[in-house]
């Protein structure tokens, strides 16, 4: 699990527009669902955090046991989320 990562680009109205699962480890069957759920929930945190800092890379904003969510926010408020 630790070696897989999920990368999602979220548009400014919170719609996922690109999604990729990367990594070599065998995927869990529910990985997509799990990742989506975690990343979606992380949007709550992003919405609070994005306005408090001028930095674009928000580093790890959320942890879900082994999964760490990192976010890069562009100027146009498009998010790149990794976990």
């Amino acid at each position: 699990m630790a070696t897989t990562a999920c990368f999602i680009i979220v548009s400014r109205n919170d719609i996922p527009i690109y999604e990729a699962e990367v990594g070599s480890a065998a995927k869990r069957e529910d990985a997509a669902q799990l990742h989506q759920f975690i990343l979606h929930a992380a949007l709550d945190i992003v919405q609070d955090l994005a306005w408090t800092t001028s930095a674009m890379f928000l580093k790890s904003i959320d942890r879900f046991n082994d999964l760490v969510v990192s976010v890069y926010v562009t100027a146009g408020h498009i998010l790149y989320i990794f976990n």
Binding site: M1, N13, D14, I15, P16, E29, D30, A32, Q33, L34, Q36, F37, I38, H40, A41, L43, D44, I45, Q47, D48, F64, N65, D66, L67
Partner: protein, 1258 residues
């Protein structure tokens, strides 16, 4: 120093406020005590904090204690130092004295003794007992007091104040308070300095072996405690924070293995808010404290101070990470701690923190931003608590009740099982419980998803519990042999374990590694047999019961109902708080969990509402994977609630999700639900938005272009997201005009049932004529059974492959363009003038299509008055090739070889006129063609010639005829073009005459000039003149010109002349018999050779018979008027001159005529009353008013030369040059009247003279 810990603890517990010592020199205290204590606690004051900044403190608690009190006396000096914080902060010296000598001798030395101790902060209160009425005593008291002031006040500091026992001295108390405060401040400063020095000293020894954390702790906490007593909570908090850091360092750095703690009964209940949970002496260990208790203690102290500072938010915000960190610390010691200690501790810690902070928070001030954050923290705490609670529930077998939703799965599936050193084993007398659990496992049927969705439930377990538990069992842990699952019958000792194995989650993983036999020694006996799931549950339950000391908490885990209740409470708490903190996603997700519980309880209404929220969130943000998980649940609720509209809409939404999210079978199930419901007994038609499922777009390429008024066929691409073919009972599509958004779209219907295949479909709609403009597709509506659906979106989610992919089409792209009305065809006459009248003539009608097909066109012909079509003749139609036009077309089309192609495509057809209609042949649909219609213009009147005497007033209107044409064309004859063509018909000649010469013999030469009126050459074969009465041909001719000149050819628009010799003659007897001819008739036999393309041409009928033979047969007749000259005037009428001054409007004038008889009337011409002459004055009534008799007889003798003057009064009515009245003699032939002198043609009439009478005053 460690020895002092117990003492320190006691002291700390005993005193929680500052102490002020009272040195009662003169036994005044008993009387003053109550008045002093009234001042407590001190309302306000300023103290210095650790950084020597002045801090405002309120409600400072303190206690006055006499120095003689036991509490202050019996202390060893060392003790005093160590626990200096409890020593008095100020010393009040109460004195009184009424005598100066006494003061000098006794009191002063005593006071000096008291205050000589530098350590003390003191001041003197002089109490005057003198009564105000007793002047002497008062005076003395004043004296003594001033003496005291002199002796004890220093320059820098006043140390005295005076209290009048009998007087009212409000200033005294203020003074006292400020002095006390000053003392406290000074003492505090000194003590802080002392503690700080001590702490520094100790800190420097930190890395030495003698270092003892307990000593450090006592000093540090003493300082903190002192600050706390002085209400300097901030500083106290800082001390605790430093203490915590220091402790962390101690714990981490020193490699000593210490006991962790947490093994006592009741330790499972978090004491993170209860500093007095355990005595410090209990938790001390060597030179430090046990981590488990001490960290909680420190946090509790911090929390206490934060609550005092009214900062519950900070408690929560520090508490959450504390719980997380502490939980990690617990995890490290899981093997020594009781089973599930960590989970239980977290649950109790969270609940304690939630309860305490929220209750305190509600009392405190609320800042919006903090409130949000606070709620978020509460939500986090609830959520954490909820997860741990679920984990416990799973462990004791209630996992099946927990909804396998993404949130639960994400939380639990990555959270490892507890890792006790040894997994608890089944207690010996628990067989009934095991049975009960097994029964429960059996009964628990996994919830079957609606629509038969086969989906592997999301896991709630990080690993298979059976395996995990057995692995950790003491007897089996050695070889890790029992990676075994209970699928193998070898291990089943009956009693329903088969069934349990089937139902247990472990059966997901097939026992692939089961080949190992189990015959190794030491495995016999029930203790060595791997535990079954039910046994694990029971064992865990017993172990938990042992761990959990709080009966309330145990109760929540004891039964399914209680568990569900607690679960719901925690979930609701988390959801509400997340909602309040605007973490809507977290909140809504938990709403979904609440919905799941509601659903299980059969409360479908609430469940549906919550599920709707979740679906709306996921759908709104387009997270389809997550939506796919929840939407079936919502659909199921809606079905239960019989909410057909909602259910249908959910089905449609399910269908419109990504194809990959559901299998084809499931999608087919959705569709069949929709279809069956649509055709079932629904009361009302249900509207349904299928925008996401059925999308439409126009075909690629340019929009369909139509001319105004034309119907058409519109082809539209429909994309069906249904997995199977679906039959639409009806379908209609609205077109929206882009020019006018207000106007509702026009619906195009396709009433017959349409079957939509999955994917791309092309549907054609019949398009009735539309208004000009461009149109876009609007809304697609239709019906499936009772279901009326509606879609208004273009395809967004097209399938990926290029064929079916419909681009993101902007709705503004027009699908249809209807052009503004424009001429589509032109009808014109090829030749419109100079056609022969009274003859059958071809008229050419040029039909020119203007970029529009005339296929199937019908021409209606309606001739106007005086014009008939020759119905007996066929109508000819041929393609028309006009030079100029063809060249223009060539330019347009750029076809160099157009001429030749046109020449090749020369068409010709004969058509029949049926009911005034002609059908166009097909070839005429797109080429300009000409129709030759045979018509005949009739004219009854004879042409009249003109003469030089009487110039002919020939009107062109006489020959005008009209023909109305109506062309119906277009796809359904919807286009109509109407035109009325004016045609001018004419005689071939215009004849004018003049007398060329009067011969001496009385004959005249009459010149007849023939003007050709047509654009065709005329050939005259013969001409003759039938003379009127009174004229005869002279000579022997029969009135014909010399025949040798014939045939005479007259070119178009040229003239020819004929000469006739005629004379005046009497009527012959022959002539008498005929009717009296008033006109002479000129007859001309002629032929015509002309082209119908340019004008007059041989008549139609002749053409068919042959031009040569019949061309001569045309006869033209023209009447000529020959007038006899006035040869014998009988009467002369003369106009007498008018008066010399001009005529004016409104002025009467006498018009006078002289009538004179020139000769006798001939007998036959004389009327009976030959001496009377009839006259008549004719005048234009607009210009003249005749004042006399207009008509009458005047007497005129028949004798030659008789004359008479006729005078008529006239009144001019209009100014200008007007024609004067004329005198006529109706009885007498004009030929016999000679006008001499002739009257004027025009007379001048002036406007009326200006009347000045109105302007000049009388």
């Amino acid at each position: 120093m460690t020895n002092y810990l117990a003492q320190f603890q006691t002291i700390k517990n005993a005193c929680d406020h500052l102490v002020i010592a009272v040195e009662d020199v003169n036994d005044l205290w008993p009387t003053l005590k109550s008045r002093f204590e009234e001042r407590l606690p001190f309302k306000k004051g300023f103290l210095n904090n650790k950084t020597r900044n002045s801090v405002f403190v309120e409600n400072l608690h303190a206690e006055f204690i006499l120095t003689t009190d036991a509490r202050l006396r019996s202390r060893y000096p060392q003790e005093q130092y160590l626990f200096w914080f409890r020593e008095p902060y100020a010393t009040v010296v109460l004195v009184t004295c009424e005598d100066l000598d006494e003061f000098k001798n006794i009191l002063k030395p005593r006071l000096k003794l008291i205050v000589q101790n530098d350590e003390k902060e003191w001041f003197i209160v002089f109490v005057s007992r003198a009564h105000p009425s007793n002047d002497q005593a008062t005076k003395m008291a004043k004296k003594v007091y001033s003496k005291i002031e002199v002796d004890f006040n220093s320059r820098r500091r006043e140390r005295c104040c005076k209290l009048d026992l009998h007087g009212t001295e409000p200033k005294f108390w203020e003074d006292l308070e400020s002095k006390i405060m000053e003392c406290i401040r000074n003492t505090l400063d000194r003590r802080v300095q002392f503690y700080e020095d001590e702490i520094r000293k100790l800190s420097e020894q930190r890395f030495m072996p003698v270092w003892n954390f307990c000593n450090f702790f006592i000093l540090k906490e003493s300082l903190a405690f002192m600050f706390e007593m002085a209400n300097l909570h901030e500083d106290a908090l800082r001390e605790y924070d430093e203490l915590e850091l220091c402790y962390q360092e101690t714990v981490n750095v020193t490699g000593k293995r210490r006991e962790f703690g947490g093994l006592d009964h009741g330790d499972d209940q978090a004491a993170l808010l209860n500093p007095g949970d355990k005595l410090l002496t209990q938790i001390v260990q060597d030179d430090s404290f046990r981590e488990f208790e001490f960290r909680q203690y420190l946090f509790a102290c911090q929390a206490k101070l934060l609550f005092k500072l009214n900062r519950p938010f900070e408690v929560a915000s520090r508490g959450y990470p504390f719980i997380i960190n502490f939980s990690k610390a617990l995890a490290l010691r899981e093997n020594i701690l009781p089973f599930c200690m960590r989970e239980v501790w977290v649950i109790t810690a969270c609940l304690a923190l939630i309860n305490e902070t929220s209750s305190r928070y509600r009392d405190g001030p609320v800042v919006p931003d903090t409130e949000k954050e606070f709620c978020r923290l509460q939500g986090d705490l609830y959520s954490l608590c909820r997860i741990k609670f679920m984990r416990l529930a799973c462990l004791i077998g209630y996992g099946t009740d927990i909804e396998k939703s993404p949130v639960n799965s994400a939380s639990l599936s990555m959270l490892p099982w507890p890792k006790p050193a040894v997994w608890p084993s089944v207690p010996p007398d628990a067989s009934t419980e095991v049975l009960a659990k097994e029964k429960m496992i059996l009964q628990a049927t996994p919830r079957i998803k609606h629509f038969g969705i086969q989906r592997k439930p999301l896991p709630l377990e990080p690993a298979v519990l059976v395996r995990e538990a057995n692995r950790r069992r003491a007897s089996l842990s050695g070889g890790n042999m029992y990676e075994i699952l209970d699928g193998s019958p070898n291990f089943n000792d009956g009693s329903g374990s088969d069934a349990s194995s089937k139902m247990s989650p472990s059966n997901k993983v097939q026992p692939t590694s089961m080949s190992r036999t189990n015959s190794s020694p030491g495995f016999e006996g029930s203790i060595d047999r791997p535990m079954r799931l039910a046994e694990i549950y029971v064992a865990a339950e017993h172990a938990l019961k042992h761990t959990i000391s709080n009966p309330e908490l145990w109760k929540t885990l004891s039964s399914r109902e209680e568990l569900e209740q607690k679960y719901l409470e925690l979930t609701k708490g988390a959801a509400e708080n997340y909602h309040q903190s605007w973490w809507k996603r977290h909140g809504v997700v938990l709403d979904g969990e609440i919905a799941a519980v509601c659903f299980q309880r059969g409360n479908f209404d609430l469940a549906a509402k919550s599920y709707e929220k979740v679906c709306a969130l996921y759908a709104g943000e387009g997270w389809q994977d997550l939506l796919a998980e929840v939407l079936p649940n919502l659909a199921e609720c809606q079905k239960m609630l019989n909410d057909q509209a909602g259910y249908l809409s959910s089905c449609v939404r399910l269908l419109s999700l990504d194809k990959g999210l559901f299998s084809t079978k499931e999608r087919q199930a959705f569709q069949s639900e929709v279809v069956s419901l649509a055709h079932s007994e629904m009361k009302n038609t249900v509207p349904l938005d299928v925008s996401s499922l059925i999308t439409f777009s126009g075909n690629a390429g340019p929009p369909l272009e139509l001319c105004d008024g034309d119907p058409g066929t519109l082809s539209v691409t429909l994309w069906s997201g249904f997995p199977d073919d679906i039959t639409l009972d009806s379908l209609s599509l609205t077109l929206m005009a882009t020019y006018n958004a207000d106007e509702g779209g026009k619906a195009l219907r396709s009433s017959s049932a349409t079957v939509l295949k999955p994917g791309k479909n092309t549907i054609t709609f019949a398009l009735p004529p539309q208004k000009p403009g461009s149109y876009v597709l609007g809304v697609l509506t239709g019906r499936i059974g009772h279901l009326s659906f509606r879609s208004h979106s273009f395809s967004k989610v097209g399938p990926a492959d290029s064929d079916d992919f419909m681009s993101y089409e902007k709705p503004t792209r027009p699908i249809l363009k209807v052009f503004n009305p424009r001429p589509l065809v032109d009808l014109a006459a090829a030749v419109s003038s100079g056609l022969l009248i009274n003859e059958a003539q071809w008229i050419g009608v040029i039909a020119r299509p203007i970029n529009y097909s005339l296929k199937g066109a019908v021409l209606h012909i309606d001739t106007g008055p005086g014009l008939q079509t020759e119905e007996s003749h066929v109508i000819e139609m041929e393609s028309y090739n006009n030079e100029s036009e063809s060249s223009a077309e060539m330019e347009n089309h750029g076809h160099a070889d157009l001429d030749s192609s046109l020449a090749m495509n020369k068409y010709f057809k004969q058509l029949c006129l049926l009911d005034g209609k002609i059908d166009f042949p097909d070839w005429a649909s797109d080429v300009t063609s000409i129709l030759w219609i045979p018509v005949r213009a009739t004219e009854d009147r004879l042409a009249r010639g003109s003469s030089s005497v009487a110039p002919q007033k020939q009107s062109i209107v006489d020959g005008m005829r009209t023909i109305a044409l109506r062309l119906e064309f277009g796809v359904s004859h919807n286009q109509i073009f109407e035109r009325t063509i004016a045609l001018h018909f004419t005689d071939p000649f215009h004849v004018s005459t003049r007398v060329a010469d009067k011969c001496n013999d009385g004959s005249m030469l009459l010149q007849v000039t023939l003007h050709s009126q047509v654009k065709a050459s005329l050939t005259i074969y013969d001409a003759w003149l039938d003379l009127q009465d009174g004229f005869v041909h002279t000579g022997q001719g029969d009135g014909r010109p010399t025949s040798g000149f014939f045939p005479l050819v007259i070119s178009p628009n040229s003239r020819a002349g004929l000469l006739f010799s005629i004379g005046l003659g009497k009527t012959t007897a022959e002539d008498e018999t005929e009717a009296i001819k008033s006109d002479s008739i000129l007859s001309i036999r002629y032929g015509i050779s002309g082209d119908r393309n340019s004008g007059a041409h041989p008549p139609v009928a002749m053409k068919s018979n042959g031009i040569e033979s019949v061309g001569e047969g045309l006869i033209f007749r023209s009447a000529l008027v020959l007038q006899r000259p006035v040869l014998d005037p009988c009467i002369a009428v003369g106009f007498l001159p008018l008066p010399s001054d001009c005529l004016r409007v409104g002025q009467l004038v006498a018009m006078q005529w002289r009538v004179e008889r020139l000769k006798d009337f001939e007998e036959n011409e004389v009327p009976k009353n030959n001496d009377e002459v009839l006259y008549e004055v004719s005048a234009n009534s607009e210009n003249w008013m005749v004042a006399g008799r207009k008509r009458g007889h005047v007497c005129l003798s028949t004798k030659q030369g008789s004359r008479i003057v006729i005078s008529i009064l006239c009144l001019p009515l209009a100014a200008g040059y007007v024609r004067p009245p004329q005198l006529m003699l109706p009885d007498i032939d004009e030929a016999n009247i000679s006008n001499s002198p002739a009257g004027p043609h025009l007379v001048c009439v002036l406007p009326p003279a200006l009347s000045s009478s109105y302007c000049i005053p009388a």
